[in-house]
Symmetry: C4
Amino acid sequence: MATTVHLAGEGNDEAHAVAEVIAAGRRASARHWVPATSGNFSARIDAGRIAITRSGVDKGALLAADILIQPLDAPLLPRSSAEAPLHVALYHQHPEIGAIFHVHSPAATVIARLAEAEGRVILNGWELQKALAGVTTHEARVEVPVFANEQDTETLAARVDARFAAFGADVHAAPGYLLSGHGLYAWGRTPAEAARHLEALEALFDFELSYRRFTP
Amino acid sequence: MATTVHLAGEGNDEAHAVAEVIAAGRRASARHWVPATSGNFSARIDAGRIAITRSGVDKGALLAADILIQPLDAPLLPRSSAEAPLHVALYHQHPEIGAIFHVHSPAATVIARLAEAEGRVILNGWELQKALAGVTTHEARVEVPVFANEQDTETLAARVDARFAAFGADVHAAPGYLLSGHGLYAWGRTPAEAARHLEALEALFDFELSYRRFTP
Amino acid sequence: MATTVHLAGEGNDEAHAVAEVIAAGRRASARHWVPATSGNFSARIDAGRIAITRSGVDKGALLAADILIQPLDAPLLPRSSAEAPLHVALYHQHPEIGAIFHVHSPAATVIARLAEAEGRVILNGWELQKALAGVTTHEARVEVPVFANEQDTETLAARVDARFAAFGADVHAAPGYLLSGHGLYAWGRTPAEAARHLEALEALFDFELSYRRFTP
Amino acid sequence: MATTVHLAGEGNDEAHAVAEVIAAGRRASARHWVPATSGNFSARIDAGRIAITRSGVDKGALLAADILIQPLDAPLLPRSSAEAPLHVALYHQHPEIGAIFHVHSPAATVIARLAEAEGRVILNGWELQKALAGVTTHEARVEVPVFANEQDTETLAARVDARFAAFGADVHAAPGYLLSGHGLYAWGRTPAEAARHLEALEALFDFELSYRRFTP
């Protein structure tokens, strides 16, 4: 009986994660942040599994059949996105992460390329920074790591891990990172928090780009 | 009986103010002016009470349960926004204010930061200035005060009061102020007027930023 | 009988013009071209009358009661917009004009201010110019007159008349004009043509501003 | 019987192509990429026929009656768009093309004019390039040809053919080309692929323009 209840619970968790992924894709598509079937979205079902968008679908028209149930310790399923390893690696390293959303939004994509040489974007002086978990003042220095783009996503995942492991204490590590000329990965403990982080980061990058047009 | 009628009237005023706050949040969210649960919205119920959004909710999906009924002379209610003191102070000082809307809209947020050192944005030469109460010509000089951002909102509220009290007669004081890198507070005698002021100010700041890109 | 039929026809023309004005306001509002109750819209009913938006209403939420039936040879009706004289003067001078739409759209408002000293914006080299009646090639030079803004709209209407009367043959006169820091007036023989001209001109000004950011 | 089935199949293909053209116009209109009745859209029905929008209609409100069934080897039908020859020429030269979408989107229109002298836009370093068929890395150099605008579309079609025939092997030829100050033609093997290419190219041009504002 316990098993039956447990399985039912698992089924609910799975359906819930799938629904969150579909909703996140739809919201991002409405903002034009995932043009031309780009972007990918995932949510943790439990300690060992995630729900993640498959490769090559319009994220504004996701169906449940477009969402893969990927065990974290198994090989990637057929039809997986080329970027699935970046999701899997983050869920492995950070058990507290509950959802990861990746978009090709314009401000993130462009600021990442402008900041590739420096390897990071520092956010400072914006009230909206406080939408990022753990940030309590606009005076905080929030560092968003920027990585050179790389088609080998296993290699890229390792670089991301190394960078976050070595993160200094002088700045607050943002719940996200940038890939130069590519876009933004943002995450949170829950899908709602990941969505808040995604929305805050793209708005902050947009503020930053607009501000920089007037400041040499 | 009079009391009963009075209470009924109060109930209607309260429900009306709550509905106005919900509508204002929805409109601002549709414009992407309150990203990541930022912003807050309030409307006066009567001389002693306001309806105001609680902390940390998506302003595009407000429910009546997300709106607090805050007495102006009582301590802030649990779940109040950190910025509730800025609302309360304005309602106290200016009995004619009927609604206050605060957003993190992009033009306001960026122009405020660009103008922080100067302490104000002067609007002049735009026909749309006439959407601000009391402004009858594009030739008016309209001053929107800019304050440095500050996490202690009681302190900030006092600075705002002092500034408006000392306002000179050579310029028209706008129905709003800016917080550097933070956003815009706009108000009006009614929710409709506050909404008009909010929309006019963000459009004016957008015109101004666009114009400044071409004028050294 | 003839009279009855004639009156019915008039009633239909009036209802039709009112519906066109409401639709034009709604479309402009959806584009955020009439912020804070700005803008005004009119359509000709017959040789002697127009339907025109009254002052101070949200153009995205127009009702039939917000539209005035203004005889062209009578004094302005109560609640008329301050800019009604600009509409009336154009209908008087140009019997072929069937509709006039005025907006505070961002590209028009800003480019008008940048071009105030020169007194005109020349459009040249854009395919979309061909959406303007009588323009058959991107090689045409289309001149959009720019007038300094002016609160006395009777005076302004006279300036507009004089300018169009004196229009040279070397350029194509656009079906619209700009007011510096104010916005755009566009017209057409029908409401559909006026809408097409409005949409084309704002897009052309947006192209032009974007292009100028890269060309000294 | 076979004939009957075959005819039914043809009818289905035709209805399907018409529906795809209508959907493409609606999507482009929602993005404001076809202002003032500009743009045109076509889909191949079979080896000898295409469905194509007629001249002068609002692409956001297409009806089946606005779509012409044009044989590729017959003279252009009455009411054809002036740009129909550009579509017909591409379908003739490239049997694999299944749909062609042409828009006056802002980034494409402006970047084309900026790049007219150089005759091409090179895309390099953007992950979104991978949304273009055959591009497998952001390191690819993707060349989008730019042609001077020209009202004689038969002449223009010949230039386009010549350019693609002579295309070098050092860069990947994009599934589209630009007309200076005019807009973008994009195509694909299917309507879905053409839509993906259109959306990717406009986003890439927008990234590129935004990036160039910060890089001398």
